[in-house]
């Protein structure tokens, strides 16, 4: 699913990632660990195609329509309600039976009652749940999760893991410094060192 050779990225004079080789097979769950500044976020953004490498190359066998990316920020508009945000993304992802899908996700992640509230008023945990709805909205084949467990309570984490792994048809890359919260699910690991 993902193939990288000699992958590197620098921001100005700062080298964040260098000489990384990576192979992730289809339906694999890869856990990326490493201290702050070791390039976990950069790696995920490279896979998502949000940034281009400055060295080496990367191939991903999924186009934007089949990638779900949970970033540090929830990537939702604070001025809009949760429902409006998901409606917007639902349109952009061209999801068939958009209403049903959105309603189902909101229900599942416990946001249904808050769907008409202002996103700005949501708690951190609720925002993270909304971000998860956004990530999973289009039922992506490849899911990239950047520190998914921060600000997510135990129930939320469990919900996320169930959603991701119950039928094991997704490829998942998780960057986290709390690997224990993944439970005992089978994973391969990539440890990034600080540069």
């Amino acid at each position: 699913m993902i193939r990288a050779r000699g992958l590197g990225r620098r921001f100005g004079d700062k080298r964040v990632l260098a000489g990384l080789d990576l192979d992730v097979g289809s339906r694999e769950l890869l856990l990326v660990t490493g201290p702050n500044g070791s390039g976990k976020t950069t790696l995920l953004r490279l896979i998502a195609g949000l940034i281009v490498p400055t060295a080496g190359e990367i191939e991903v066998d999924a186009d934007r329509a089949h990638i779900g990316f949970l970033a540090h920020e929830p990537l939702v508009y604070r001025e809009l309600t949760p429902l409006e945000n998901l409606e917007l993304y639902g349109r952009l992802y061209r999801i068939p039976e958009r209403r049903e899908r959105i309603g189902m996700l909101l229900e599942r992640f416990g946001l249904w009652d808050a769907r008409h509230e202002s996103t700005a008023a949501l708690s951190r945990g609720m925002l993270q749940r909304l971000a998860l709805c956004r990530t999973l909205l289009h039922d992506p084949e490849l899911v990239l999760l950047d520190e998914p467990f921060t600000s997510l309570d135990a129930a939320g984490s469990e919900l996320l893991l169930d959603e991701l792994t119950d039928d094991a048809r997704r490829t998942i890359v998780v960057a986290s410094h709390q690997p224990e919260r993944l439970g005992d699910r089978p994973t391969s690991r990539l440890a990034l060192a600080a540069t």
């Binding site: 920020e73 990537l75 508009y77 001025e79 809009l80 409006e84 993304y89 349109r91 952009l92």
Partner: protein
């Protein structure tokens, strides 16, 4: 094609909704453009011609547009929401077009107040002026939205955007003032349309390059 237009519509709708909720930009533009017209009365000498007031109107419109442009990507830049749009499978130029259309809407709203105010304070508004303003709006929004996305990557972006935009706005001012004053406004309206065409195509084609890192 229909899908593309649907994306554009969704994005424009989102921008208008965000503005409707936050009311950050349009009220500021309205106040600014009327304030500008009042200030110009005191800047112009008593015996200034109608030529001078037409020039002043265009300056006021340009600077008001800058307010809208400086604010245009604020909602996306705060907390990197732009990444969410870039992740979506829609063509990136649709993001530009959606934003451009919403900027055109904001400009039109501001001018809905500015032109009657100009008629009240200074000179009657001619249809040539209205046509010129409409054509200039397209050029301002098209180029300004692209430059706004470019400046978003920079430090001091609020300062940079006017600097980037000013030289590119000179032809728009020429066309606008010409359409307002010249005896053959058709030439100037044609020039504005040409400008819109050239720079809208350029901006449309190059937006993808300036938003990805």
């Amino acid at each position: 094609m229909t899908a593309y237009l649907a994306d554009v519509a969704a994005l424009t709708r989102k921008d208008l909704l965000v503005e409707l909720r936050s009311r950050d930009t349009v009220p500021a533009m309205l106040l600014f453009v009327v304030g500008g017209l009042v200030v110009f009365h005191f800047a112009l000498a008593d015996d200034s011609s109608r030529l001078a007031s037409a020039g002043m109107l265009w300056i006021a419109l340009l600077f008001t547009a800058l307010l809208a442009l400086v604010r245009s990507f604020v909602a996306e830049r705060d907390e990197a929401v732009i990444d969410g749009l870039l992740l979506a499978p829609c063509d990136r130029s649709a993001i530009w077009l959606g934003k451009t259309l919403s900027v055109v809407a904001f400009l039109a709203l501001a001018e809905l107040v500015a032109l009657p105010a100009f008629a009240l304070f200074y000179e009657p508004v001619t249809w040539e002026l209205v046509a010129g303003v409409a054509l200039a709006n397209i050029g301002i929004a098209a180029v300004g939205t692209l430059l706004g996305a470019m400046a978003a990557a920079a430090r001091a972006r609020e300062l940079l955007l006017p600097l980037l935009f000013m030289p590119l706005a000179i032809p728009l001012i020429v066309g606008g003032v010409g359409a307002t004053l010249a005896e053959d406004p058709g030439r100037y309206l044609g020039f504005l349309a040409l400008y819109d065409l050239i720079f809208a195509i350029l901006s449309w084609a190059s937006f993808e390059y300036v938003v990805t890192e």
